[in-house]
Symmetry: C2
Subunit: 203 residues, 2 copies
DNA sequence: ATCCAAATACTCGGATCCGAGCGATAGGAG
DNA sequence: CTCCTATCGCTCGGATCCGAGTATTTGGAT
């Protein structure tokens, strides 16, 4: 029943760091830069604060290690990290587990839809229309990026984009359907319990 | 481009609390119990610690207020909260915004799929198979709950379950397709750069 | 009567997160 | 030669989160 959480490093950004270091040693700032360049900041929340925390955590866990500390001008030192044998194993184990067992997640939209009723039929349609528009735009953007990347790298390195695309398409489809059902009245709005202010509140 | 975050209370659990209080005054423990009874803990992460924090935050913001503090036996006091006029408005505004503007989210599975390559074709298929199985099971469970609820309450109060269903179905579909593509070799595994330990590391 | 399991109700402190800084330097405009 | 901005690279501290723990009580089973 428990989720997976009792993992030494839980922040997903740690996975990204590990992944990058599989390729070559890097210092934190370069990791952030690389993640953003490659558009991986769509899959991982890259915030500088967390990055340094996570790197420290990975080091404490022995999954990565400082390789050297260089200084270029009189700028802050850069500590370059590299993976360890343990780190390489844990990386694979981590990916494996994340794939195998679905994590409990709580997307904001799901929360909001739980209270769609509060907007009233017209308000709901208006809000959903706006979301649909935004999702469509973002979808277009992702498709563009995907097309562009498709020629450059093996497809394997782009599957996550295809997944994201699929999910967004599914969401958009659902939104459009629901809009339709509200407009045609197939999804009815029960009278809101406005007047039940002084209700007994049974059960 | 900023997300929505500069909101007084950001934890989605606050939305659930507000939603519950729209119906009737409650004390925190009862909120948690109700949320779980109604299966809303699928949409909101209900953890006791956060709950008390969030209630305090909502009170500080003036969206809810303590109504009375009763004591039943010699048990800890229960503070019963109720909504305020401001709270009612903010509740609607909050739902509206959550619907209108998609939040940046970082589902674990997306992170993991970004590194699917690390598992190798066989490992990937094995892991994806297991996930598919689990998703199928959870889907079955949600369908059951939905069927059960469908007779009891107006459909409007179940749309979020339909949404969740849709998304899980989409994920499952994608997983099955990818499994197929790996097995038939349509999704090729580029030779892993194992030997490039002492690589120059271009780009 | 007695004891244990479950329910009631909340608190606490550590872990985590992350944005706003901060100091330095390189590069280009004037 | 000077200034200004963009980039580099990191630190800090507040905010948030949340599981484990505490203490009491009710309701059976024995």
């Amino acid at each position: 029943m428990g989720s997976s959480s009792r993992r030494k490093v839980s922040n997903a950004l740690g996975l990204a760091v590990l992944g990058l270091l599989m390729e070559s040693p890097l210092h934190p700032h370069a990791m952030a830069a690389t993640l953003r360049e490659r558009g991986m900041d769509r899959a991982f929340k890259v915030s500088t604060g967390s990055l340094y925390d996570v790197v420290r955590a990975l080091e404490r866990a022995g999954w990565i290690e400082a390789r050297e500390t260089v200084r270029v001008g009189a700028r802050p030192e850069r500590t370059v990290y590299q993976h360890t044998a343990v780190g390489r194993e844990e990386f694979v184990r981590w990916v494996d587990e994340l794939i195998r067992v679905p994590a409990d997640e709580y997307p904001r939209f799901l929360s909001a839809v739980s209270y769609l009723g509060a907007l009233g039929p017209d308000g709901a349609v208006a809000a959903l229309r706006e979301r649909a528009e935004r999702v469509r735009a973002s979808l277009e953007e992702i498709r563009r990026a995907h097309r562009e990347a498709a020629g450059q790298v093996p497809r394997l390195f782009v599957v996550e984009v295809e997944y994201a695309l699929r999910m967004d398409e599914a969401e958009l489809g659902w939104i459009e359907e629901i809009i339709g059902e509200i407009e045609t009245g197939r999804l009815a709005w029960p009278a809101p319990p406005e007047s039940e202010q002084a209700d007994e509140g049974g059960r």
